[in-house]
């Protein structure tokens, strides 16, 4: 009878159980935080490719202006400002790249077909859009 009481006492929710429970919860929380915040680091980069070749990669976090030398002497002025990238001016006749809005999210791109220039955001803030028409 005494033995049985002791056994039952062991089974009830005790201090050690609480510590174990808290430990499991804390470890679980740390795991969740690592799993879901890892890709959100603010280290997006601006990748510039000319005719399929990556010619430069610039941090999205540093304001700068760079002239991209496209094919056939064509030029595009890339401006990175406040964590966004845009083409400020260009030599191409259609100017589609200049009219394009500033990009900042992973996978977004600005394309200048005449100069064969592709500016793409790699990493950083996740974009929710997979393709554009």
């Amino acid at each position: 009878m005494i033995q049985r009481q002791a056994l039952e006492k062991k089974k009830s929710f005790g201090r050690r159980d609480l510590i174990l429970l808290l430990a499991v919860l804390v470890i679980g929380l740390i795991g969740i935080v690592i799993l879901y915040t890892r890709p959100a680091a603010l280290n997006g980069e601006v990748e510039v490719a000319v005719d399929g070749e990556v010619v430069m990669t610039l941090p999205l976090s540093e304001d700068t202006e760079v002239t991209i030398e496209g094919v056939d002497g064509g030029e595009n002025l890339l401006v990175i400002q406040d964590g966004t990238a845009k083409i400020e001016s260009a030599s191409c006749p259609d100017g589609i790249c200049v009219r394009h809005y500033a990009i900042s999210r992973d996978g977004e791109s600005i394309i200048c077909l005449p100069n064969r220039v592709v500016v793409t955001i790699r990493g950083g803030e996740k974009g929710d859009v997979d393709a554009v028409v």
Partner: protein
Amino acid sequence: MRLNSKNWKSRLAAGLLSGMMVLSAGGCTHPLERFTTSFLDVFDTASTIVGYAPDQQTFNEQSGAYHDMLERYNQLYDIYNEYDGLSNLKTINDNAGIAPVEVDQEIIDLLQFGKEMYEFSDGRVNICFGSVLEIWHDYREDGLANPDEAELPPQELLEQAAEHTDINALIIDEQASTVYLEDPEMRLDVGAIAKGYAVARATEAIAETGMENAAFSIGGNVSAIGWKEGKEGNPWVIGLENPDLTAGDYLLTVSISDLSLVTSGNYQRYYTVDGKKYHHIIDPDTLMPANYMQAVSVLTTDSGFADGLSTMLFLMPVEEGLELVEEMDGVEALWVEMDGTVVTSSGFDEYIND
């Protein structure tokens, strides 16, 4: 009471365990990774493929196969360039009034589809409209190169060319695999359907490489197969470009799976004469750029039909097009009117994200 407490503990343990299993299933054991590639060498436009694959090499092989298919279609359907050892649409055009040209089945199939599209659209979408479109193309190219000297094609020149656009002069001999333009002045121009048609065929064929979850964006044509992240029930998110490109964001986004979305618009390919914009989609009745709307997007399974239909809808008043789309099964559309008003067919809204 004690029994309850034990119960509570085992439930908690089970809950924690299953929670951890869900987490690890979502975060670690998932075998597919997201990859992206772009190319600029097909259909005179920018292309992007987003796909989920077990590794980079697999994705490269699959997206490479897709690119190669498009490259072949691009060469076959090219009206401006010749390729060694290849009979393409330029070969047919160059032999107008001279001789039938033996061609590959892919050309026959496209031209048959073009004839169907002509019937369906009451002549609005006409692959034999090349003589007129050629004039607009030349004036646009000159106008873009020298904006100060940009001019409109003379109406008389356009009207003369329009006399050589009778689709019945396009003779397709399935048996002999030949195509012949009876009218020596006639020219094929498949710009309204070729890109979408090629995307449809390539998207069908890519399954053979094992590619199951991908979004192909070829100019204004998007085809999405399978699911985002390879997770069933998780659709692809496609942004519709705002015709006002300075607006800074998409007009809206839609969620789709195993569907194609094609836009025809006046805001990408155009040139400016005396401060006024003239885009590239020409109304066969007026021989001038159509002015019914800024853009129309078509949502349906076959990208070739979506491409042709978006051109057709661009060439008719919004209300008329809306009536037509409402009568069709498996087709939805969205119009952006001249003043920016968005009009949708009754089933389109369920694809739009909040």
